[in-house]
């Protein structure tokens, strides 16, 4: 779609929300190699970088870090941001140059299950389905009642 916008001359930008675990996949890096060559400055990756994937810590499974530097050496702009800080996120979004020829990666550092005491940092919730009670408790802790 980013390439289509370039071909058609449309001004929209493509945002890809992805995870750090997903960066295990070779196809991610195939896209990362292609985008700068095609000067896809309209392409923005946001990596939800919570440090966990299905069976453990990302860094114990595949050598992802330093992730921001990897994108830089592949010819991308890259920024690191606190993924829970909306102000920081907005500032980054506004600072991405619209007419850049470089694609941009935003590494958003996050905590899996943040704000829910019984989920935060517990990777079992990668698979576990919350019960109705769990949902009620989580919503209360997040102030969503």
């Amino acid at each position: 779609m980013a390439l289509a916008a370039k071909i058609s001359g449309n001004k929209y930008r493509s945002f890809v929300l992805m995870s750090d675990g997903e960066c295990n996949e070779g196809t991610v890096w195939e896209a990362v190699l292609l985008a700068p060559v095609q000067k896809l400055g309209n392409l923005i990756f946001i990596v939800d970088n919570n440090g966990w994937q299905a069976t453990g810590r990302c860094d114990d499974i595949m050598h992802l870090n330093p992730l921001a530097d990897k994108f830089k050496t592949f010819g991308w702009n890259s920024f690191e941001v606190d993924g829970h800080n909306f102000e920081e996120l907005l500032n980054i979004f506004h600072s991405i140059p619209v007419d850049s020829e470089k694609p941009t990666a935003i590494i958003a550092h996050t905590v899996k299950g943040k704000g829910v005491s019984f989920m935060e940092g517990d990777n079992n919730w990668h698979y576990r389905i919350p019960t109705a009670d769990d949902v009620t408790r989580a919503k209360a802790e997040l102030g969503l009642e």
């Binding site: 997903e22 069976t55 453990g56 499974i61």
Partner: protein
């Protein structure tokens, strides 16, 4: 099936130091027993299936017996070229365990369930395809893979499958199993759907239709002797599979019928539809949706027999 698979691999690894397990970032805690006993024989290759298959090929070329374990939807399709060239072309003894081949993961949607796995593997030279019906057959197929000198795909369900065999199954690669005899129609099936087919046969019995049930746990190479026997006895043969019709069990039988000029019998094929589910369903709901649960199978067969 998932747990019996890990238990059996742990068991056979004790006497066979060539066994290595590769996982594609799944099976959290499932292989803890194996990892504790054989810490240098388990490798989590991450969410990177193409590389994992190539790693398996390298291990097999070096004399090891790798078992690759991840979702069937991932360990075949993401890495088809590696399965085709690295493993099948070189005819290497790599066992690919496809967790959730069929509708097991229908609750997770079309990214995770797969009803095309048998079709895409049937056309690969050297590939052996096995679909065990229950836990005992999973264990038997894992054991038999060690005496097999080529690529093998073992399609397994997740958990809570009905037990078909009371004792040790009389399992032999490439040889179909007569589950129960009958006179009016023969139902051929494969894998965990066997339990539904057995129930369908009971429902048919109540309608005075006597059904023979044959389980083809090995789809490739196919048991041609059994096919000949079935088609010489029955004027109506029904294939039932938790798989799409193009290229699956029924497709294989139809090809065999054409090649062998079988004109005296009709074949009725029952399987999943040639479209993706766009909403999440439980395995049971998805079976109902596609008409491959026991009562719907029985209804289709009765209609096919015009009774």
């Amino acid at each position: 099936m998932r747990d019996s698979c890990s238990r059996e691999l742990t068991c056979i690894a004790r006497s066979d130091p060539r066994i290595i397990i590769l996982s594609g970032d799944i099976g959290n805690h499932m292989f803890d027993g194996f990892k504790a006993e054989f810490p240098d024989r388990f490798y989590n290759c991450g969410v990177a299936e193409a590389n994992m298959i190539s790693v398996a090929a390298g291990l097999a070329l070096s004399g090891y017996r790798p078992f690759v374990y991840t979702f069937a939807a991932f360990d075949l399709t993401r890495c088809y070229e590696q399965v085709r060239i690295d493993v099948c072309f070189q005819n290497l003894p790599v066992v690919i365990i496809g967790l959730g081949g069929g509708l097991t993961y229908a609750p997770l949607g079309p990214t995770h369930y797969i009803c095309e796995d048998i079709s895409i593997l049937r056309c690969l030279p050297n590939m052996t395809i096995v679909c065990p019906a229950d836990q005992a057959e999973v264990m038997a197929s894992l054991r038999s893979s060690l005496d097999h000198h080529g690529p093998m795909y073992i399609r397994i369900n997740k958990k809570n499958e009905p037990c078909i065999y009371t004792g040790e199954p009389d399992f032999s690669l490439g040889r179909a199993q007569l589950i129960q005899d009958g006179n009016d129609v023969c139902i051929i099936t494969t894998g965990v759907l066997l339990s539904e087919v057995i129930r369908a046969a009971r429902i048919l019995e109540e309608r005075n239709i006597s059904a023979c049930v044959v389980h083809f746990h090995t789809i490739k190479p196919v048991d041609e002797i059994m096919l000949r026997e079935v088609f010489s006895r029955f004027s109506v043969v029904v294939s039932v599979e938790e798989h799409t019709l193009p290229g699956g069990l029924g497709g294989m039988i139809a090809e065999w019928m054409i090649d062998n000029r079988i004109k005296s019998s009709d074949l009725i094929r029952i399987g999943t539809g040639d479209y993706f589910l766009t909403h999440c369903l439980s395995q049971k709901e998805a079976r109902d949706h596609f008409g491959i649960s026991a009562d719907l199978i029985a209804g289709k067969i009765a209609d096919g027999l015009n009774k």
